[in-house]
């Protein structure tokens, strides 16, 4: 019988927290126990139902195929397409992302990440105003005032509060939660709101107005405000503005509640401006609550490779970026792409209905460890080893910190990186053959 092995300080590759203190017990090539991780992370590390072998669609049905067959079919799809879309990348390593960017250059594709349906508006806000941020450890050590706006870490990032924010203990925050003021702004009373000192309920779609009102109050122009803004009483806002101005170190965390409600990137632009202005009174930083564990990493990798962090059109040889035109949903809604490779994301579950319909009408290649609704409309399905569990690699935490994921157990499946190299190899071969045949 084999000896159980304990792997210490493993990194959880579930959400943007990238908790790096996970202890994992491995026996007989399988993860047996996971310690310190939250339920979401444990479930991922312990593993569940997987796609076991590659599949290609023949006569309308997905049938088992070899990896090589799947690579060749994928290459064929990408080469035949005029404008393929390579989408996803949020739940895989930067090593895979680098190969994906190379593939996009080779076949002339548009490459986009899941940011387009989560923090894409944040990126556009940052393009307008910049991002006054900090690492999460800075918040842990210094923050005495924390605002969660349109996000619900208790359910989406369960260890955030203990490791980095409300309940963390650091050098200048020895009292932890007791020494802090926690504010939650949301359209409903979330579980995060129950741990707050102050909860402000905003009317759905009212965030922009409320942020604007706070900016006026911070600037001393509160006398111009009506008695109620966005469903919030002026007195409440005035109290909040005073609290923010009085902070020794304040941090504002924001989520999809403001990136994808009415106003979208304008909400973020406004929130960034509020934080910049608060720095005339107190020290204040702002951080997006990134969802998937490496959605930050694809943004970083794309930025240093192409100059832009998402929605990069490489069909004309040089990078072109124009969100609204080159983002995945826009392309699909206009039916402007004629093939798609979906990797480490589930477009069919998260995209608007009309774009999923467009996806169903074009050839789709899926690379994923798990079966999901995207599998149903795919023509090639390639299962992969799980980055951060079965493969080493690089990921960027929600604050932009880069960490190296550990390999915990072996897998008989190839990594995302290897699969993309397989497809790239097949692209080169098929191209050569076409050249030889004078096509």
């Amino acid at each position: 019988m084999s000896e159980a092995k304990i792997i210490k300080d493993a990194i959880c590759s579930f959400c943007g927290c990238l908790c790096d203190d996970i202890n994992v017990e491995v026996d007989e090539g399988r993860v047996q126990r996971v310690r310190h991780a939250c339920r979401l992370g444990s479930s991922k590390i312990l593993g569940h139902g997987r796609i076991e072998h590659p599949m290609v669609r023949k006569d309308g049905r997905l049938v088992e195929a070899s990896f090589q067959e799947a690579y060749d079919r994928s290459a064929q799809i990408l080469l035949r397409a005029n404008k393929p879309l390579l989408y996803g990348w949020a739940s895989t390593s930067c090593e895979a992302a680098k190969k994906g960017i190379l593939l996009a250059e080779e076949v002339g594709a548009v490459i986009d990440s899941t940011a387009t349906v989560c923090h894409g508006p944040s990126v556009i806000g940052i393009e307008e105003k910049g991002l006054p941020g900090a690492t999460l450890g800075q918040v842990k050590n210094r923050a005495d005032t924390i605002v969660f706006w349109g996000c619900n870490p208790v359910e989406a990032h369960p260890r955030h509060s203990l490791r980095y924010s409300s309940n963390s203990v650091g050098r200048f925050t020895p009292q932890g939660r007791e020494g802090r003021k926690i504010v939650v702004v949301d359209v409903r009373e979330t579980r995060t709101a129950r741990n707050a000192d102050k909860f402000i309920r905003v009317n759905p779609g009212g965030d922009y107005e409320v942020i604007s009102a706070l900016r006026m109050l911070v600037k001393g122009k509160g006398d111009l405000l009506p008695q109620e803004v966005g469903g919030v009483l002026k007195a409440d806002l005035a109290e909040l503005a005073d609290m923010l101005k009085a902070a020794r170190f304040g941090a504002l965390f924001f989520g999809l509640g403001i990136t994808h409600s009415r106003g979208r990137y304008k909400n973020i632009d406004n929130a960034l401006s509020l934080v910049a202005e608060l720095n005339q009174h107190s020290k204040f930083v702002i951080l997006p609550m990134r969802g998937h564990y490496n959605v930050g990493g694809i943004g970083q990798t794309l930025a240093w490779s192409s100059g832009y962090p998402m929605s990069v059109d490489l069909t004309r040889g040089k990078p072109y970026f124009n969100p609204g035109e080159t983002a995945a949903c826009d392309l699909l809604a206009r039916r402007d792409v004629d093939a798609a490779l979906i990797i480490a994301a589930d477009a069919a579950s998260n995209f608007p209905r009309s774009t999923v319909e467009a996806l169903a009408d074009i050839p789709v290649i899926q690379i994923d460890p798990y079966e999901n609704p995207t599998t149903l409309l795919s023509d090639v399905v390639i299962p992969c080893a799980i980055a951060g569990v079965e493969v080493e690699g690089t990921a960027y935490r929600m604050d932009g910190l880069c960490l190296r994921l550990r390999k915990l157990v072996d897998s008989c499946l190839p990594s995302d990186e290897e699969i993309l190299m397989g497809i790239l190899g097949s692209v080169h071969r098929q191209r050569q053959m076409m050249a030889n045949q004078g096509v």
């Binding site: 940052i126 900090a134 450890g137 800075q138 980095y164 050098r171 100059g307 040089k318 880069c402 960490l403």
Partner: protein, 568 residues
């Protein structure tokens, strides 16, 4: 490979414009060799350029790209059979950085500022930059462990920590930025001068600078401390510069080099009490460098047009953002640093900018010894590095400087001494300032010269130095320098007449300094406590793994031959 008949400038080996043949074998300079011949008859030949201070990789550079899609739209070039696509002007993508340096005849560039915690990111980008050799300087000036060692006057532990930090970051040298100010910025403050105590740490910037300088020499590091001064960018800050230089003049260097390298001196050579009476104090600074021998500097030349300011001096960037109402990114790094990024446009009609432009040139022209001052633009703070040919042509031509000044604010004549400076640098000066001196100042023995054993990094420019009057024909100088006839890197032609021919991966230099085992043993419990209590990552996930440096070049240094225990 044989390079025939070039007019060779190799000042480190006392060759000042001699017609001679050069021989290359297996990537190095040799006495004799056979093979491919390159005809360089009458052409200007020199070692490949070495940039000792340039912001080319890491979080803040990428933040610049992300917040400036406007910049990424400039200078785009499509993918070719050899090259990946290029984008950007002030914040080019990784590929463009490699190609553009190579086209200009540069073969080495050092990233100027990396926090240990974020060094992994820096190496991800460095590895993606093709062709050139590189390294990264590591930030220590606002680090809690550093400040505590200095407060406790424990120099041995400080040296052990610096060695450990360099190893963890796979860093090359000790960078200090606005010492103490970055920590104060953690609560929105700053330090105002060398003796202004750092809040909560009971040390002063003066003590931090001296402590790090002394420990740097204890470790016998190839490079000295690399210092971005306090009060940078403020009127009247030349006093801080002189005080800081005086603070270090009694420290003995452990190698044949300076004790301190003051970076982008231009931003710290200002007089006046406000922007209203802002003026150049470059002559005072230059006098100091002419009469003292423990310090070197780089220009940090400012040119008009677009720039992206990015620095670990976060309070300065907040000031820039308030001043210009431009977009502002800030990034504080727990226990270590702070930083910021703000786009900028410098205008020749703005008196302050015009004075800044003149200050950089004054410094380079008034410091008598070119080994003491490097040509840089603090890319992309003063201007992007692609504008080096503009800076060089200004230094070589008084008529060009006069013509430029005629288009500026009238007062620039009175606020600076530039119009009275007749000196025009010659090719020897330029080769020293862009090749020989940066290599020597960094401690790169095989760079910056063409003696036997040196790296075969060679540039041939399409320019006849014996026939061309650089003063009158400054436009031809600028044109030739922008696009080398040949750039040879490690014995391979990488660029010819502006076309990239091959893209070998460059090496990354880092310094592994050994310290006595008992100092390392005393250090570890303190670090373990810091990680348990304050850092947001585990100690075991902190250091940069070797996987990120597949082309590493390790340089050994330190107190003893024993190597520091590997971080578990």
């Amino acid at each position: 490979m044989i390079i025939k008949g070039g007019i060779v400038y190799d000042p480190a080996n006392c060759i000042f414009g001699e017609e001679m043949d050069l021989f290359v074998d297996k990537g190095r300079m040799v006495e004799q060799a056979k093979g491919e011949e390159i005809d360089a008859h009458g052409l200007l030949v020199m070692p490949g350029g070495v940039d000792a201070h340039s912001h080319i990789a890491g979080k803040k550079v990428n933040t610049g790209r992300i917040m400036r899609p406007d910049d990424s739209r400039l200078g785009t070039e499509p993918r070719t059979g050899t090259c990946r696509p290029s984008t950007g002007y002030t914040v080019p993508n990784c590929y463009a950085i490699g190609y553009r340096y190579a086209r200009m005849g540069y073969t080495t560039a050092f990233e100027a500022a990396t926090p240990i915690l974020e060094a992994r990111h820096t190496h991800e980008e460095l590895e993606e930059i093709p062709i050139i050799d590189k390294g990264a300087l590591t930030l220590f000036g606002n680090n809690w462990q550093v400040m505590e060692c200095i407060r406790n006057n424990d120099m041995d532990m400080l040296a052990a920590y610096m060695a450990w930090g360099l190893r963890s970051a796979r860093g090359y040298g000790v960078k200090i930025v606005n010492p103490g100010g970055g920590e104060a910025w953690g609560f929105g403050g700053n330090v105002k001068g060398l003796d202004d105590p750092v809040p909560n740490f009971d040390v002063t910037p003066a003590e931090i600078i001296r402590g790090l300088a002394q420990a740097n020499e204890m470790l016998r590091l190839p490079h000295s401390i690399h210092l971005h001064l306090n009060n940078l960018g403020k009127p009247g800050n030349y006093n801080t510069a002189i005080e800081t230089l005086d603070l270090l003049k009694d420290i003995r260097p452990s190698r044949m080099r300076q004790v301190v390298h003051i970076t982008h001196m231009q931003f710290s050579a200002y007089g006046g009490s406000s922007w209203r009476d802002f003026e150049s104090k470059a002559p005072v600074i230059a006098d100091y460098f002419n009469s003292h021998h423990h310090a070197t500097m780089d220009m940090g030349q400012l040119l008009f047009g677009s720039a992206t300011t990015m620095t670990a001096d976060a309070p300065l960037e907040y000031g820039n953002a308030r001043l210009t109402h431009n977009k502002w990114s800030n990034h504080d790094i727990e226990l270590e640093e702070s930083s910021g990024v703000v786009p900028m446009v410098y205008s020749r009609k703005m008196l302050v900018n015009a004075v800044q432009w003149a200050v950089g040139l004054e410094l380079a022209l008034l410091v008598a010894d070119p080994w003491k001052i490097l040509m840089t633009t603090d890319h992309p703070n003063g201007s992007p590095f692609v504008n080096y040919p503009e800076v060089i042509s200004l230094l070589m031509s008084k008529p060009k400087r006069d013509a430029e000044m005629a288009s500026m604010h009238d007062q620039v004549q009175n606020r600076t001494s530039l119009s009275g400076i007749e000196r025009q640098l010659d090719w020897t000066d330029i080769v020293i300032m862009t090749r020989a001196a940066p290599a020597r100042i960094l401690g790169l023995q095989d760079k910056g010269h063409l003696g036997p054993g040196a790296d075969a990094d060679i540039t041939i420019y399409n320019l006849m130095p014996e026939e061309l009057d650089a003063s009158q024909n400054h436009d031809l100088v600028k044109k030739a320098l922008a696009c080398a006839k040949y750039t040879i890197k490690g014995g391979a032609v990488v660029s010819k007449d502006g076309q990239i021919l091959s893209t070998p991966p460059g090496r990354t230099f880092w310094v592994d300094a050994a310290v006595p085992q008992d100092d390392a043993d005393r250090l570890m419990p303190e670090l373990e406590e810091k990680f348990a209590k304050y850092y947001s990552v585990q100690l075991s996930n902190y250091a940069v793994q070797d996987a990120y440096l597949p082309h590493a070049q390790v340089i050994r240094a330190g107190l003893s031959v024993e190597s520091l225990k590997e971080v578990a």
